[in-house]
C-alpha cells in the first residue's frame, strides 16, 4: 500500500489525468441519469401525482390524456362496471395563457376534474387544495401560490374564463414538460371554449375511478377493460409508466448507459495495463528481492480503488451543483440511489478491468531479474 501511494504521489499528472477522465465519465453518467429522470417526471408527473387510483382512457387516445375522448356511451359502460366506489370526469388540454401581468404569453396544461378526489394531486407542497371555481393547484416548478392565470382565445382575449388563481402547489406534477394547473370541471370547460369558440360538446379525456374497499386497482382496471374494448383502464402508476415516449426515452438512455459502462472500465483497464508494462522491470526486481506477488496485486488493486474512488468523488462533486439546476422546464434532482448504484457498478467494473494487469503481475518470474528479461 505504501508503494502504491508513493507511486501515485510521484506521478501526480498521470494519475490525476486518469482520475479526471473517470470523474468526467461519472459526471456524464449521473447527469444523464438525472436528465432521464427529470425528463420522464416532466412528461408524466401529473399522471403520477393526480389522485385517481385508476385512469380509464379511450383506446383511441393511445394513453395520451389530451388525445383521449370518452364518448357518453363509453362513459356509461365504465361507470356501470362492478367494483367502482366512485368515478369522475377528467379533462385535459394545453392552452396559451397569460400569467399575472407577464408581457409574454406562456403555455399551460389544464387538467379539469369533477371530483377533487379523482383528479387533484393528493399531496401538496405549498398552499391548499382548490375549493371552488376559479381556483387551481399548480405544478412546481411552473407556478407560485397567488399566481393568476388567464386562458387566451385566438384573438388574444379570454372569452368568459375569468381568472384562475393558484392556491396550492404540487411538486413534480407537470404534464408533457408544460406547467400544469389542476382545476374544477367548469374551469376546464371554460378554458376549452375560450381557446376555441367553435367548440362543441366538451367530453372528458378520461374517467378517474376508485375501487370499492378490498378491490385492487389493477383488478378493477381489468374488469373495466373486459367490459369494453373501447376502454383502456390502467392503475395510476402503470398509466404513467406506459405513457407514449416513456419507454423509448428509457430504452435510448439505457443504450447510452451501457456504452458508458463499457468505456469506464476500458479506460482504467488500459491505463493500468500500460503502467504495469512500464513497471515490469521494477516489479520483477521487487519479486526478486522477496516481495510476494499477492502484495503487488493488492497494491495494483488499491490504486484502482483509489483512482475509481477519486473519479467518483470528482464526478459526484461536479454532479451535486448540476443536479440542482433546471434545463428549461425540466427540473433535475440529486438521485442518491443512482449515485450508489453507479458507484458500486463502476468500482466493480474497474476492479474487473484490472484483472488483466493483475495476471501480468502474477506471471512475473523473479529469475528474469538476473537475465534482464523483466524489462521487456
Amino acid at each position: 500500500m505504501f508503494l502504491a501511494l508513493k507511486e501515485m504521489r510521484r506521478a501526480k499528472v498521470r494519475f490525476g489525468l486518469l482520475i479526471s477522465a473517470t470523474g468526467l465519465l461519472v459526471l456524464l453518467i449521473l447527469a444523464q441519469q438525472a436528465i432521464q429522470t427529470g425528463l420522464i417526471t416532466s412528461f408524466i408527473g401529473a399522471i403520477e401525482k393526480q389522485s385517481a387510483p385508476v385512469l380509464v382512457y379511450s383506446v383511441d387516445g393511445q394513453r395520451i390524456l389530451q388525445g383521449s375522448i370518452i364518448t357518453p356511451a363509453l362513459e356509461q359502460k365504465i361507470r356501470s362496471t362492478e367494483g367502482i366506489e366512485k368515478s369522475g370526469r377528467i379533462g385535459q388540454g394545453t392552452f396559451t395563457v397569460k400569467v399575472n401581468d407577464d408581457e409574454e404569453d406562456s403555455d399551460a396544461a389544464i387538467i379539469g376534474y369533477t371530483d377533487p378526489d379523482l383528479g387533484e394531486p393528493d399531496q401538496l407542497s405549498a398552499g391548499r387544495a382548490a375549493r371552488g371555481p376559479g381556483e387551481a393547484v399548480g405544478s412546481a416548478p411552473g407556478f407560485e401560490v397567488g399566481d393568476t392565470v388567464r386562458v387566451l382565445g385566438p384573438d388574444g382575449g379570454s372569452r368568459g374564463t375569468g381568472e384562475i388563481r393558484v392556491v396550492g402547489l404540487a411538486d413534480d406534477a407537470q404534464l408533457q414538460v408544460t406547467p400544469t394547473l389542476f382545476t374544477g370541471w367548469s374551469g376546464y370547460v371554460a378554458s376549452v371554449k375560450s381557446a376555441n369558440p367553435d367548440a362543441g360538446a366538451i367530453l372528458p379525456s378520461a374517467i378517474g375511478v376508485a375501487p370499492v374497499a378490498g378491490l385492487d386497482p389493477a383488478a378493477l382496471a381489468e374488469r373495466i377493460n373486459d367490459a369494453s374494448q373501447e376502454a383502456d383502464a390502467l392503475p395510476r402508476q402503470v398509466a404513467a409508466d406506459e405513457s407514449p415516449g416513456v419507454a423509448e426515452v428509457r430504452q435510448s438512455f439505457q443504450v447510452i448507459f451501457l456504452l458508458f459502462g463499457l468505456v469506464v472500465p476500458l479506460v482504467t483497464g488500459l491505463f493500468f495495463l500500460i503502467i504495469t508494462l512500464q513497471k515490469s522491470a521494477s516489479l520483477t526486481l521487487l519479486r526478486a528481492v522477496g516481495a510476494q506477488s499477492g502484495l503487488l496485486v493488492r497494491s495494483l488493486m488499491f490504486q484502482v480503488v483509489l483512482v475509481i474512488g477519486g473519479g467518483l468523488a470528482v464526478g459526484i462533486a461536479l454532479y451535486t451543483p448540476l443536479s440542482q439546476a433546471r434545463l428549461g422546464e425540466i427540473k433535475l434532482s440529486f438521485d442518491v440511489s443512482a449515485v450508489l448504484i453507479w458507484s458500486v457498478l463502476l468500482l466493480g467494473l474497474g476492479l474487473l478491468s484490472a484483472v488483466v494487469s493483475a495476471r501480468r503481475v502474477l506471471k512475473i518470474d523473479p529469475i528474469e531479474a538476473t537475465t534482464g528479461e523483466g524489462g521487456r
Partner: protein, 370 residues
C-alpha cells in the same frame, strides 16, 4: 513518419486497447448523433415537406399547430401582402388508426393533415373526401396502397392512395388529405376542437424571390393576429425539438471532451515510454517536430480506424433497427461531423505530449545526463 507507421504495423497490440476505447467513443458519438437526427426527423418531417418560405400561425398559439386558428379574413390579408406568391391552408389532428388485421386494441397513432398546397415533398391533395396519402412508415404497420384505415373514436374511414416519404410529425406517422377531409375527421372525432369551413390551423406561404422582410409585413398586415415563421423557426418551435437538440449537443460535446482526455492519456503514456528512444533519435539528428508529427500520425490513424468502425456500426444499426422502434438515422453528414470531431479531439489530445517531446534531451541518450 515511416518509423511511426512501422511501429503501428509491427506492434498493433500496443495500440489495440486505445483503438477499442476510441471505437467505443466513436460508436457512442455516432449513436448519440444518429439518435438526435432520428428524433428530429420523426418530429419535423411534416413541416419540412411543406418546403414553405413561411409558416403563419395565429399569434396566441405560441407557434403550436394544434392551438393555432386562422380565420378566412386573415388568410385574405396574408394573400394580399406584396411578395406573397402562394398561400395554402394547413390543419392537423392526432388520432389512433385502426388497421385491418390488427387487434381491436392495437391502434397506430397517426396525425391526419389537411393541406392545400402541393410541394416537392407532397403531391396534390386528394380530390375526393376520405382519401389520403400515407407516410411510408405506415407500410411497416401493414398498410398497403388502396387499404382503408379507420381513424378516431368515430372510425372515420380514410383510403390510402399511395405513400410519401419523410413526413412524420411528433414522432408519429402521417396521413395527408384535403382540407375538407381534415375538417370532417376533426369534427367527427374531436368535438372540443371543432372547426367550421374556412378555418385552418396555419398558412403555408410561398414568396416571390425578392420578398425580404415578408414575415414582418404579413404580421403587420394582419394587425398582429399572426406569427410568421421561416421553416427552420417553425421546426425550432415544435415542442421539445430545440430542448432536445440542446441536451444532445451538450452530451456530444462532453463525449468529445472525453475523447480528448483518452487520446491525451494514451499518447502521454506512449511518449513517456519512448523518452529514451526519442533521446537517441534526437542525438542522431531527428528534430522534435518530426518526432511529434509521428505521434500525431499515429493518433490520426488510430482515430480514423475507430471512426471507420464506428461509422460501419452506425450504418449497420440503421439498417437493422425496425421501423418505429429506436428513432435512429445514420446520415452521411452526421458520420463525417463525428469523424471530424474525433480527429480534432485526437490532435488536441496529442498536443499534451508535445511538451514532453520538446523536453527530451539528446545528451541523456549518450550519457550526458548522468
Amino acid at each position: 513518419m515511416s518509423l511511426s507507421l512501422k511501429e503501428l504495423r509491427r506492434r498493433p497490440g500496443r495500440f489495440g486497447v486505445a483503438t477499442v476505447i476510441l471505437t467505443l467513443i466513436a460508436i457512442l458519438l455516432m449513436f448519440l448523433g444518429g439518435l438526435l437526427d432520428g428524433l428530429t426527423a420523426g418530429n419535423t418531417g411534416a413541416i419540412r415537406a411543406q418546403q414553405a418560405d413561411l409558416i403563419v400561425y395565429s399569434s396566441t398559439s405560441q407557434d403550436s399547430l394544434v392551438r393555432s386558428r386562422i380565420e378566412p379574413e386573415q388568410e385574405k390579408q396574408v394573400a394580399a401582402v406584396e411578395g406573397v406568391s402562394g398561400v395554402g391552408e394547413l390543419g392537423s389532428v392526432q388520432l389512433g388508426a385502426r388497421i385491418d388485421g390488427k387487434g381491436p386494441r392495437d391502434l397506430v397513432p397517426v396525425v391526419l393533415f389537411g393541406y392545400q398546397a402541393a410541394s416537392e415533398g407532397l403531391p396534390e391533395p386528394p380530390t375526393r373526401p376520405g382519401e389520403a396519402w400515407a407516410d411510408a412508415t405506415l407500410k411497416a404497420e401493414g398498410v398497403e396502397q388502396g387499404d382503408t384505415v379507420r381513424v378516431g373514436p368515430a372510425r372515420s374511414t380514410i383510403k390510402v392512395l399511395g405513400f410519401v416519404d419523410d413526413t412524420r410529425y411528433a414522432g408519429q406517422s402521417t396521413l395527408w388529405a384535403s382540407l375538407r377531409t381534415w375538417r370532417m375527421v376533426q369534427n367527427e372525432n374531436r368535438p372540443d376542437a371543432r372547426v367550421t369551413p374556412g378555418i385552418s390551423q396555419a398558412l403555408v406561404v410561398q414568396s416571390s424571390p425578392d420578398a425580404s422582410g415578408l414575415a414582418g409585413r404579413i404580421d403587420e398586415a394582419t394587425d398582429g393576429f399572426t406569427s410568421s415563421l421561416t421553416e427552420s423557426e417553425a421546426i425550432d418551435a415544435l415542442p421539445g425539438v430545440a430542448a432536445q437538440e440542446s441536451v444532445f449537443n451538450q452530451i456530444i460535446g462532453l463525449t468529445v471532451l472525453i475523447a480528448i482526455i483518452v487520446v491525451a492519456l494514451f499518447f502521454a503514456l506512449i511518449t513517456v515510454e519512448r523518452i529514451g528512444l526519442y533521446g537517441v533519435l534526437k542525438a542522431l539528428g531527428a528534430g522534435s517536430g518530426r518526432l511529434f508529427a509521428g505521434v500525431l500520425l499515429q493518433a490520426v490513424i488510430v482515430t480514423a480506424i475507430a471512426c471507420a468502425i464506428g461509422a460501419l456500426a452506425a450504418l449497420a444499426l440503421d439498417a437493422v433497427v425496425p421501423a418505429g422502434s429506436i428513432p435512429f438515422t445514420a446520415t452521411g453528414a452526421r458520420l463525417v461531423d463525428s469523424t471530424v470531431f474525433l480527429l480534432v479531439a485526437a490532435l488536441i489530445g496529442c498536443a499534451f505530449s508535445l511538451r514532453r517531446v520538446l523536453r527530451v534531451d539528446p545528451a541523456q541518450a549518450i550519457g550526458g545526463g548522468q
